[in-house]
Chain length 463, copies 2
């Protein structure tokens, strides 16, 4: 196993200090450093090896314990080994015939995730290249259940379908072209507002058919109250999908699974183990409670060259027809191997640790002068403003917020150029730019979190 | 560089003869061999290492020179090294800030592909997880160009849009829910029939807005006459998309690029370098001739936590908003590194070699008793029937074809159980089950192709 690590060690370049998260160059500078042009003649191995070293050197070190920029971070060695094996055996997961091992592993992982969710009668699922696609799958299935002959009759004779949603789902709507109703976005969905919206849509002659709730929003890490939403969906016979791409990991923890209370009642879940559980990119599961092959019936294209019905084995193991994209990487293997090596208990401890570290960071922020929480975190997202000394004595006013809005982008620029750490920032609604720290990796220590606050102060105190 | 190969060498298991393409076990048997269950407690490293060995052992050896089952095959070592690096640096390709190197490499590869296609004024593009998604992107863009306010007005006030297509595109339609017109599927699109269909649709009050042509169909390897179709699309102002996922590689060859004559006139192209050019899975490009940011305008969701407009660098390098799925793997790197190492000339030679080998196979089939070509191949797909001696003297009759239909599945079963080779079979329209050989890898020799025909005869002569 250790030999696999040679590749990573191989390319450590002693001229770059190991503590840098990134070595910033502008696109124009980096283009010159990389010599990107593709030519008629190839290059000798020694130059290709240098290209590999350069690719690693100038890439952001997302496994660095001071990388907090996205909803993924850190390096899970078992999962990385699995991803190397998956690359080397070069498998496309559409039929059992070409992917016997990974087909069964995907099935085993999906079954286990379904069990953890609490669908006692089982369910179905598929791994997708990213959570956005899983959410699109949910829209497809909800619509298919509502109107199975959609494809035959076309959009034009169908009723005016409406999805009710908390978090932004405009990507899905861009593909599926359904009317969205999205009013009650204030961190979390308000059940009474949801029910009003359903009634309003019906009174306008539209047909609400689906609610899209979120477990762990991207910026704030907010959880919609699934149990209460499920009550409403049952009453109105709506498909309830939960985008738990980010927050799904909480279900592994006895201490934190209450965040997802009611998830055993929903129709479908998107959950990305490549986020808090640290499986290699990408590892995104779509899970559905249905047991009537809805996934296959909705997406089947019956390609005669893949899904022959006169095969000599049980063709229900040919899962490719459940997907929109047909060709799929064996992403489940990356989660299966690490789960096998770590066990559920270690996964649980990692979740608990990440949330304890987030809690530590939030408490530190409350203690420190010049730092202010945007809101009390309920998950691993810690959102806060940094006020440089020049702003600390200004009264609360639009002018203060206007000035504060310009602080985070400058601090971000400076941290990128220093390479000391990376964290995200963004505005949200009326709120001025704030930092979003996301604590995931078990490699992160309290010292790293103290460093983050010290460094933001150092980089921004003159502003 | 050689050290990377340790991983692959590491897992060769001397108890499995090296010449086996696969070691067949039924799903039930394999489940027992793999111990798939995920438990509370993890397993020690020695057991995990055995799990890795087992995963490799029981997986199909798609890099074996006698694997002809899909439109991918063989191992391209440079591309595999790139895929290992991409896994190790764990990058998501949505912003320049987190993916500086791979953003620029994707841009460089896309520009080069656009140049090869012959769009002299440039264009735009993006790598996707698979060709089906690229084809969906084409539908989105064509529709967006026709009706930019689609999302705002919704499907229900839009006209009845129609796509005209040759190859099966039901996957796209399943997602996009557009009316398809697909009558002229007979290997290749018939331009006069296309124009008739356009007129018919218009006379029915529908709005044809897009033609989907195919360069290299999956089963037969047929090429639609792009130049003639482009004439019709220009005349009727229709978006012309070419699904060149499989056949796109021909454009690298001076000898064979005539197959794609007219491709410089089309609006968009899907081209998968993971097929004939052998980049690691997955490597799928979507290319668009538009220079007005259509891709971004159509798909943008403007996530505030990724695409801040107050960043300190040129945010046009943040490509994530061009995609539907947002998170993307740096697939372009896998093609960039191999192109850099091999040069365009070696890529050209590989295409020429693959097509020469396919031609050799077709000629052998014509020479051998009991083998019959389905049609003269124009690309790397060689489709043929094998008639066991018992069928050779039967007159042409429905009964002969009915018997012949049962031969390929049995031969396939026997070759899987022997593990000696893998090739696909399928029916097509009225045609009885036939074998489809696809010759891609430069590792394949004439001896391998002779073996294939000998082996099919050996496995099926008693039928």
């Amino acid at each position: 196993m250790l030999q696999v690590w040679l590749l990573v060690d191989l390319d450590s370049d002693t001229s770059v200090p190991v503590f840098q998260v990134c070595e910033w160059h502008s696109p124009e500078q980096l283009k010159k450093l990389l010599d990107l042009e593709l030519r008629d003649r190839g290059e000798p191995e020694s130059e290709i090896l240098q290209r590999c070293r350069d690719a690693i050197r100038y890439s952001v070190k997302t496994s660095h314990p001071r990388f907090f920029n996205q909803l993924y971070a850190g390096m899970e060695p078992y999962s990385m080994v699995a991803s190397f094996i998956a690359e080397a055996v070069k498998t496309n997961l559409y039929t059992y015939e070409v992917a016997p091992v990974f087909t069964l592993m995907e099935d085993a992982v999906l079954r286990k995730m379904i069990k953890v969710i609490g669908w006692e009668e089982g369910g179905d699922g598929i791994f997708n290249p990213g959570g956005s696609l899983s959410n699109i799958y949910a829209v497809n299935l909800a619509r298919y259940r509502y109107c199975p002959d959609f494809k035959e009759v076309g959009m034009f004779s169908a009723p005016r379908l409406v999805i009710l949603t908390s978090q932004e789902v405009s990507r899905q709507s861009r593909v599926t072209e359904l009317r969205l109703s999205r009013v009650f976005f204030r961190g979390r969905m308000i059940p009474s507002a949801l029910e009003e919206k359903i009634k309003l849509a019906k009174s306008e002659g539209a047909v609400p058919f689906m609610v899209n709730a979120t477990a762990g929003t991207t910026v704030l890490g907010a959880f919609d109250p699934i149990d209460e939403i499920a009550d409403i969906c049952e009453k109105h016979n709506l498909w309830l999908h939960v985008d738990a791409c980010w927050g799904g990991a909480a279900i592994m923890s006895k201490k934190h699974k209450h965040l997802l209370k009611g998830i055993h009642r929903v129709d479908s879940v998107a959950w990305n183990p490549h986020k808090m559980l640290m499986a290699s990119l990408q590892c995104s599961a779509f899970l559905v409670r249905d047991k009537t092959s809805l996934l296959q019936r909705c997406h089947s294209a019956r390609a005669s060259y893949l899904f022959q019905q006169d095969k000599f084995y049980d063709v229900s193991y040919d899962t490719g027809d459940k997907s929109v994209q047909c060709s799929r990487k064996p992403d489940a293997f990356k989660f299966w191997l690490m789960w096998k090596a770590l066990g559920s208990r270690e996964l649980e401890q990692r979740v608990d640790r990440a949330l304890a570290m987030a809690r530590y960071l939030a408490e530190e922020i409350k203690k420190r002068e010049g730092f202010r929480l945007v809101l009390e975190p309920e998950f691993a997202n810690v959102c806060f403003w940094y006020l440089p000394p020049s702003l600390r004595n200004l009264p609360e006013s639009p002018e203060l917020w206007k000035k504060l809005h310009t602080v985070a982008p400058v601090v971000k620029q400076r941290m990128m150029k220093t390479g000391s750490m990376m964290t995200g920032y963004q505005p949200l609604g009326e709120k001025a730019n704030f930092f979003r720290m996301v604590v995931i990796s078990p490699q992160v220590s309290r010292q790293d979190l103290d460093f983050v606050l010290d460094e933001i102060h150092n980089l921004g105190k003159d502003l």
